[in-house]
Symmetry: D2
Subunit: 359 residues, 4 copies
């Protein structure tokens, strides 16, 4: 189904080359002065064509809010919004009508539904993420009033790995380069690699890291609805995501308890931990420490090389993708990771009674 969340929900609709994409945000607290500029800014961060290393599709991606806001203030009613598709060069995709692009959803969609809107991947296009970015941009504005901040950044592109922890980085640096890596030197290497890959008509994967600060103690539940379980669900629901880890993540598998355990100490009269290997979550419930996590993305499936595949009639054929595509999805995935995180945090804060109407 196309709704995510329990108390703060986003229902998303729309195809890559249809009339419009959009969604309905439900459960947004009333009384929030909503900045449309901030929503638009997040959309612009995800927008294709924003730099030389992203797809040339020049979408404006202008959001139109249709309800739920009265005289600039949220009313607690559902916020309907649409983003019209403008640059729909469907003819680019017409040739793909009858074949299944490798590592795309063409085959599974056709098999499941018996029909698919093949234009640009239809509903399975990463373009669907615009709805999430809007949902996240609204959530962020509520969270900001509660002192919660969310920062994502590119920490790996192919073989180029940023080997610094989130707390050694200045997040303000992130937007200063087109790959969204807060370390400028690593950013240049990443950019170089992406251009190289692009020239080779190939694509490359990467990792987005993210830190959430200011979440109060007590968000999440001890059994199924652990904060990390729902965060994992939100992140693994992003196109091309292949892995999720938080705190020490997979590194923890190689550690000893004496090394991984975080001693409790008192800090300014508050229970705190000396280290934060746990990543801000204990027993599924936030501890008040920073929450940090990483999401792995596979290389973009669309590449400019000839590939072998099968068509609708079950014949083996070769094809070379036309259309526009990114050589590396990771820089544009950063605002999507942040948006999903924002929606989840607000949802779970509402559930824990920590983000009620009267902020």
């Amino acid at each position: 189904m196309n709704t995510i969340g329990k108390l703060y929900t986003l229902t998303s609709f729309g195809e890559s080359h249809g009339e419009a994409l959009g969604g309905v945000i439900d459960g947004c607290p009333a009384g929030i002065a909503l900045s449309l500029d901030e929503i638009q800014r997040e959309l612009d961060r995800r927008r294709p064509g924003q730099s030389e290393v992203t797809t040339a599709r020049a979408e404006e991606d202008r959001v139109e809010i249709l309800s739920g806001v009265f005289e600039g203030i949220t009313t607690g009613m559902p916020i309907g919004f649409i983003i019209r598709n403008k640059d729909q060069r469907s003819r680019d995709y017409h040739e793909m009508k009858d074949l299944f692009r490798p590592s795309h959803a063409d085959y599974t969609m056709q098999a499941k539904y018996g029909i698919r809107d093949y234009r640009g991947g239809g509903r399975t296009s990463a373009r669907e993420h615009v709805a999430r970015v809007v949902g996240g941009a609204v959530a962020r504005q509520v969270l900001k009033l509660r002192g919660v901040s969310i920062h994502g950044y590119t920490s790996q592109v192919g073989s180029v790995v940023l080997d610094k922890r989130y707390d050694e980085l200045d997040m303000e640096e992130t937007e200063r380069n087109i790959v969204r890596c807060p370390d400028q030197e690593t950013a240049r290497e990443m950019e170089r690699l992406i251009r190289e890959v692009q020239v080779g008509r190939d694509s490359v994967g990467g990792v987005v890291s993210c830190v959430i600060r200011g979440v109060p103690v007590g968000i999440g539940e001890p059994v199924f609805d652990r904060f990390q379980a729902r965060l994992g669900y939100y992140m693994m629901g992003i196109n091309a995501a292949k892995g999720f880890e938080y705190g020490e993540g997979f590194r923890a598998a190689g550690m000893r308890g004496s090394e991984h355990n975080d001693a409790f100490v008192m800090k300014n009269g508050q229970v705190s931990t000396l280290t934060n290997h746990a990543g801000g979550i204990l027993g599924g419930i936030t501890s008040g420490e920073d929450i940090y996590f990483r999401v792995a993305f596979k290389p973009v499936a669309t590449i400019g090389r000839e590939q072998e595949t099968v068509n609708l009639s079950g014949e083996e054929v070769t094809f070379t993708a036309g259309g526009r595509h990114d050589p590396c999805v990771v820089p544009r995935a950063v605002p999507v990771v942040e948006a999903m995180a924002a929606m989840l945090v607000l949802d779970m804060m509402l559930e824990a009674g920590k983000a009620t109407c009267n902020l």
Copy 2:
């Protein structure tokens, strides 16, 4: 909340040292001849005290089915079950009443609820997993009739890493050693490491790998309810899980599209892929290929060494854990990973209309 699933659901209840743990399985198709022995066998696989490298707590963990089965056949009605706690040496835990064990949920539970059953971790104990094992054991029996099999195994313990792919292993070998690693040589190394860690009053983390075979094409949805998103949610909801990846996972971040893409080919008149880097899921929907994934576990938080912490009064204190605990949770996590996977697969097959009442 303590319910997981949409159409095949498990509602779990119970504390480590309370009267009983148990649950309600809802949505199980009617007409299934249910083997109680198979359920009990799965519980025995998770049972503490099953080998020298697991905790000595000698629970019988005998399940009692209270409803939903009539003359040995499921009726489609909810299956209520309980497992009485027998070996409740609560006094072992009495000393922990007033302090927060490092990297346990004591502090966050107290902060969230203002009260907690401190005996053995109460609800946050991994003992809660017995309910999931029952839920999974029932699901497995339904899945077996549909040709779906699930095999989990230990692929890493601390520094000992099994460097074979799932398809190079004989899953029948898994239960032949106490660490549940299908490669006997690696198993011996893992066992050696666990004993060494145990002697050093420490604990160690690890990884469970799992493969699901026989899931038909078309399970999962293209946007939020991707198969991998819900699988990630189920896995990250297991105690001590720190990371989840499927297919190439985090390795995909370092790969090129030309390397990661799986070419479509025809096999026996069926659309198939030449390689399976994708891990059996395309655009959130199963492709019919094997689904494989990995879950990272942190080292057990309870260790027999003196640690620094804070008590209920906000005083910094030291303590050394008594009670019984595993030096490595991974071997006993294998049946839990399988159980969670089984519940998810059945749930999503029911949602896709692929596992209806009349099997």
Copy 3:
């Protein structure tokens, strides 16, 4: 929250005098040739200004489908749609900004959310029903292919009561008069009463009856999700609904078991009942017999007479409503009752596996 349904869901948004109303239909089976004309026809049946006895607000209520339909066929993807507001004479309502209209939601909305879009009742206006009518019109087209039909009609307006059972009436007659009563003589009386009430600057209540035919045996569940429980939820969620009954309804309270019981008989090799006091549902599950039910509506709260009330400052004041309003909501509630019923039946048929993708 603004989503209804489990597998066939409608998420609704929009205010009476905002930019647009609309919604997202999720879970519609793929492969349905969707007629936009039929959707529009249902909207026209609910449209204000359609006759002399309804409000003069001349909305066009033209629906625009934004997604989920490709070349005229549903794709299984969410169907987003909007209906732009055109005739927004907000000034009519400006005077109501600061006061609470009696028996309207002004006071409770203000108390709950601390803010409200007062223009025409904002989100609480019956105008929100347009989204439901679209959701129902799509569901009906799916149901039609499965042999299910739904007929609603006005069976009471104030003191004028239609004293015939649904099976004594010709449903084709319903649309032949402006009150939607299939008995032309009773219809004339109803119309006369409504005009009389209108002249007296008053309003009047009524009842909508409805029959659903062709639902297969086995829809609904025996405990909480009884067909009638969910039907009751759908009906009581319509503006101004005050009561719901099915089968003999409140009359059953006065009956004996020997009188109310329906004997089972064989009809054409099928188990059937001699009578159908039960209203087509036994133990929460449909029996294959006709499902009939009734919904009571209160008189419209807006009347052209001076009334006493309280304003935002807590002062007692008098006011006389301006704006446009129906003297009797019942004729226009008929398509809404049908729409809600259609959405429910499809939702529950999907849940029971009786309306899968491949019709």
Copy 4:
């Protein structure tokens, strides 16, 4: 599915003649001192065999709480409970194994699931209500701390109708007679009628009325999740319920707006209404006034007379019911109506943030 509620949920399991019935209460706020005696008292009110006019089945219905309560205080964890079946005279029902009792769920259950536990109606027996009574008894204790009270009573048995409004009655009188009617004279008439019906080997229907006092302003939502819609769902989910109405209910259909509207006035500095035709709900949201509603029950389907029916082989047969049964279900339905109302009110108060953990 067998779970009801969103934030305060009950998952119910068990059959009339199985091992045990029970349930899991989830979402109960932490920190409540829970009285088991009060829970048992509610079970005793529903218990069969409590008077001469109810079934002679002598169940003890003793509840055993298995989790979620620590040293007498709720912990916020799920409360698992069971009630063992003791007086299981299954042989009484053996003869019904192969036939469909008229107006019972035998036929629809068999048709839907292909199998059924025929003993005493299995899961479809009103005995399942014990789980709801426990869920309601816990909710009531939380609500009591918030100043909410719920009173149900028998207001009609067959032709005997109590013609007083709830506010003309002394609710303390309700438990002073075996039919649970607070007017002693009417009670005697009802009792007389039930005995007469009993002698005639027949059964009779009736109505339960209920008033909820003390619910704060602002509970419920304006569109689908109206307070009355969810209340209707809860009530129509009770065995044998045929109709639901609140406020003026079906009477409102015959009223004029000028007569039905409730003028707002100031009372003790609070916005209030002069009359309360609305029944305490405006636009789906509680207004702070009393909430009153009525639920119609059909006559018990099991009667001691010969009836015509059909058996599993599709043959028309006659049968006369043995077993134990009530001639009128209404007196014992009173605690069930109250329990369902209590669960709903707490659920919706939690959703509105009006019944958080820290009471």
